[in-house]
Symmetry: C2
Subunit: 138 residues, 2 copies
DNA sequence: CGGCATCCGTGACGATACTG
DNA sequence: CAGTATCGTCACGGATGCCG
């Protein structure tokens, strides 16, 4: 994974995220965004309906969940399936790409969760060192 | 996933990101944030100085890079090493935790970059389907 | 139930100037 | 070089209300 097939001219860095106007940055932000990441991971566990998702991703507002799902659907990570019944029944599930992304995210999240004790300790010593004269977002 | 080991009082999901007030969410946002992710990946390739980093992460402002680095240092992902010389010489490098996080991020980014052609196609068909009469951020 | 439209505050973010 | 300080903007994101 990741090795380069030579002979292919420069298609390698065609979508390099380090470039400021690269479209891959936008997609990456959708995937790694505050709600995007959690939404993808929630859908990786199970196909869910709108309000089930809302409950699973604790704290997300209706508007943001809606926006997040639209962005992910537009980028081809999520499939929205609406069954024409009364009352409405809409389900969200992942595409193959979405499932892969969710898998990578899961690994990252598991890592972070597992390292939290160490993170909390690091914060304390950081704040202790610089007189706690901080502020700025968390 | 999600089952509780009885007898042990909830230590299992002690840092579950799906919970709204969990500190792991904040750290995850630092790691996956717009500039956090790129900064970590840049430092995974090499130890860098402030302005080298600024050039590598195309588009980041001084202020945001500074904030990003502080957040990552505080969470124990980045080490800031200042040598007391004139002119100032400051280097940033990853901790073991930071390197692991960067590795996971790299995999995610590689995936996204590789799938961009498909993403672009998905967007076109999405926009085509719904009259393209939209807007809202990307 | 599954949304979209609207109002609106807070803070993220960029540009610029300044310091050590 | 490596930042901090200050200012202005605008879009993120929550609350509310309405519709199919």
């Amino acid at each position: 994974m990741g090795e380069v097939v030579e002979g292919d001219v420069g298609a390698v860095d065609a979508f390099d995220v380090f470039e400021r106007d690269c479209p891959s940055r936008v997609t990456l932000e959708h995937v790694t965004g505050r709600w995007g990441a959690l939404t993808l991971c929630a859908l990786a566990e199970d196909t869910l309906r709108f309000n089930e998702l809302r409950r699973r991703v604790d704290g997300v507002s209706e508007k943001m969940l809606s926006r997040t799902l639209q962005a992910l659907e537009r980028d081809g990570l999520v499939i929205r399936e609406a069954r024409p019944v009364q009352p409405p029944h809409v389900e969200y599930r992942l595409t193959a790409f979405g499932a892969q992304a969710a898998g990578r995210l899961r690994e990252l999240i598991d890592l972070v969760e597992g390292r939290m004790p160490e993170v909390l300790a690091a914060r304390e010593s950081y704040d202790a060192a610089r007189g706690a004269g901080w502020q700025r977002g968390q």
